[in-house]
């Protein structure tokens, strides 16, 4: 009987989550449509000459069916441009996330184990700085230091000029170059992705390591840790066998959320490192007042963000039944 009530509760919560997701997306679309109506920018009038009649009609038709209209920047359909840009953004965000997880999670665990010692304080400063620094300034400083002064990394961009043809199609460069066995391209792409990924990764590293530390500390206070200690289990084993699996559940949601917010942060990083992703496309469209592209990018980025939020909520309730029944 108990089981049935808990399942029905979960069902109700699932519906609730879906409703919230639907309402949020609807609000987003309404907001964007509202912005396009009140905006003084006329996407039709910003085109002149013989192109005016036909294209301006389509340019005003900012619907998905019309590919969000035409872009002033590239003269392509905005949807086409976004399709081309998305893999680049995902590649950068994934590389940044890998860096943030590989450094952030161990750092958080070490800080929790050595609470109030030197390492903990170092991490605390790191997090404070990470929350206080503006990501575009960090990118500029990284470029100034590592590219201009030390010349450790190649010039901004996704690949060297020699390989420009390679990024004409939407694809994940690092993966596809390995699959093709194109090692010079892989090396070049890797060298180009390093610096932006490091900067972008630091942006979420602070959050991830901080949450890891918090979760491990919470687990350390649980009674099962005392039981394990009493039965003589070495601390390393307690950490590996019991604490880490328990924190992993909560960490997955944190990581997913940071991944979504990386998309926001990558707007600036892409702009500065000339990374041909959706963030660069958005900022360049802002520069030329291209309303179609701006609003289309807003919808795409925000929808990804909202979906990640939604998946996070669902996952959290699914993986941790204690939360679901609260």
């Amino acid at each position: 009987m108990q089981l049935i009530t808990s399942i029905s509760l979960n069902y109700k919560q699932c519906v609730n989550l879906f409703i919230r997701f639907g309402i949020t997306s609807a609000t987003l679309v309404l907001l964007v449509v509202f912005l396009s109506k009140i905006s003084p920018i006329d996407s039709g009038l910003s085109r002149v000459g013989d192109q005016f009649s036909d294209i301006s009609y389509q340019a005003k038709n900012v619907s998905l069916k019309h590919g969000f209209g035409f872009s002033l920047l590239t003269n392509n359909l905005v949807l086409q441009d976004i399709k081309l840009a998305m893999p680049a953004t995902f590649e950068l965000a994934t590389a940044a996330m890998l860096f943030a997880i590989l450094i952030g999670v161990p750092l958080g665990i070490l800080a929790a184990v050595n609470k109030d010692k030197l390492l903990d304080h170092i991490l605390r400063m790191l997090c404070l700085l990470g929350n206080s620094v503006s990501i575009f300034w960090l990118s500029l400083m990284a470029m100034l230091l590592f590219y201009a002064k030390l010349q450790l990394f190649p010039a901004p961009g996704r690949v060297d000029i020699a390989f420009l043809d390679e990024i004409a199609q939407p694809r994940f460069l690092l993966i596809s170059s390995i699959l093709d066995g194109n090692w010079p391209l892989f090396k070049d792409a890797l060298a180009h992705i390093m610096l932006p990924a490091l900067v972008l990764g630091y942006y979420s590293l602070a959050n991830i390591s901080r949450m890891t530390r918090l979760f491990v500390l919470q687990e350390l206070q649980q009674e099962y840790v005392i039981t394990c200690k009493l039965k003589g289990m070495p601390f390393n084993q307690i950490l590996r066998r019991h604490i880490l699996p328990n924190t992993a559940i909560k960490l997955i949601t944190v990581i997913l959320l940071s991944y979504a917010s990386l998309l926001e942060g990558s707007t600036f990083v892409e702009n500065i490192f000339m990374w041909p992703g959706i963030g660069l496309y958005l900022t360049q469209s802002i520069m030329v007042n291209d309303l179609n592209a701006i609003l289309a990018c807003t919808i795409v980025i925000a929808l990804i963000f909202i979906t990640a939020n939604f998946i996070c909520d669902a996952l959290y309730k699914f993986l941790d039944p204690r939360v679901a029944n609260v």
């Binding site: 700085l129 929350n131 901080r210 998309l263 702009n271 802002i286 963000f305």
Partner: protein
């Protein structure tokens, strides 16, 4: 209360944060105390000069004194933070309180609205709003406000949901006190300290956001010495003139660091968790 104040005084990060903030407030109130140079007057004989005796941070691409521009720019950062807080805190509190206190249609609707605005990506929405409606520091502030009220509303709603089940609220109800009076006279004071804590934690976010909008050319317009738009101009000189990007960004970092230090410290004093 006295104990808490004492604990705050003993907390290193709060003291450090407040002293930094006090310095910035002084700079914002009387910028002329710190520099004699004008932040607007160009000097074409002295373009992009490195630091020297007359210009301690050097000059920018129009020969204006960089130090003076940073000093006068402090004011804009505070204008943004203050105007956002003045609007969002009462707005968020009112919406959150009604959402938590009323169990009817309005309450449910407001609760949904809070969830929706929490789930929207703040920066992208702000960028879209300013880019399509028009650039300028006023619109940038409005764009930040659009999503910034939601955390306060969520916090207040959670607090009100807890508080309204307490016995003293029942007693007040039985005495026939109106619900708005209960909310604003009795529940509001109890919700204030978490809200102010949230405000200090969020303030650095507002500064970073308005600087980001300025950097994309969406915030304050030239010749206003706003830090973000100064960085936008300096971007073209990054390879040759390092001081143009280093100092304004450093100012942003220090100011938002001071807010974060205070927020973190208050968190550890008030809630005993924090970092």
């Amino acid at each position: 209360m006295y104990k808490q104040v004492l604990a705050m005084y003993n907390n290193k990060s709060i003291v450090l944060g407040f002293s930094l903030l006090a310095l910035f407030i002084l700079v914002a109130l009387v910028p002329t105390m710190f520099t004699r140079q004008s932040p607007y007057t160009p000097n074409f004989d002295n373009i992009l000069a490195p630091a020297n005796g007359q210009h301690i941070f050097g000059t920018d691409e129009l020969g204006r004194d960089l130090f003076a521009r940073i000093i006068f720019g402090t004011r804009y950062a505070f204008i943004v933070v203050l105007s956002v807080c003045i609007v969002t805190i009462p707005l968020g509190f009112t919406i959150g309180a009604i959402a938590g206190y009323k169990q009817n249609f309005i309450g449910n609707f407001l609760s949904r609205m809070i969830d929706v605005f929490l789930a929207l990506p703040k920066l992208i929405i702000a960028m879209a709003l300013v880019a399509s409606v028009g650039v300028g520091i006023k619109n940038a502030i409005f764009a930040i406000i659009l999503t910034a009220w939601a955390p306060y509303a969520r916090l207040t709603r959670a607090n009100v949901l807890q508080l309204k089940q307490q016995d003293f609220i029942l007693v007040l109800k039985l005495q026939g006190v109106s619900s708005s009076r209960i909310l604003f006279r009795f529940i509001a004071p109890l919700c204030l300290s978490p809200i102010f804590l949230q405000a200090f934690l969020d303030m650095s976010g507002y500064i970073l956001m308005v600087a980001g909008l300025g950097f994309l050319g969406l915030g304050a317009q030239p010749p206003l010495p706003e830090w973000g738009s100064m960085l936008a101009n300096a971007k073209d000189y990054i390879l040759t003139h390092w001081w143009l990007i280093t100092y304004p960004g450093g100012a942003i970092l220090l100011l938002s660091l001071s807010f974060n230090l205070i927020g973190e410290g208050m968190q550890s004093v008030l809630t005993n968790k924090g970092f």
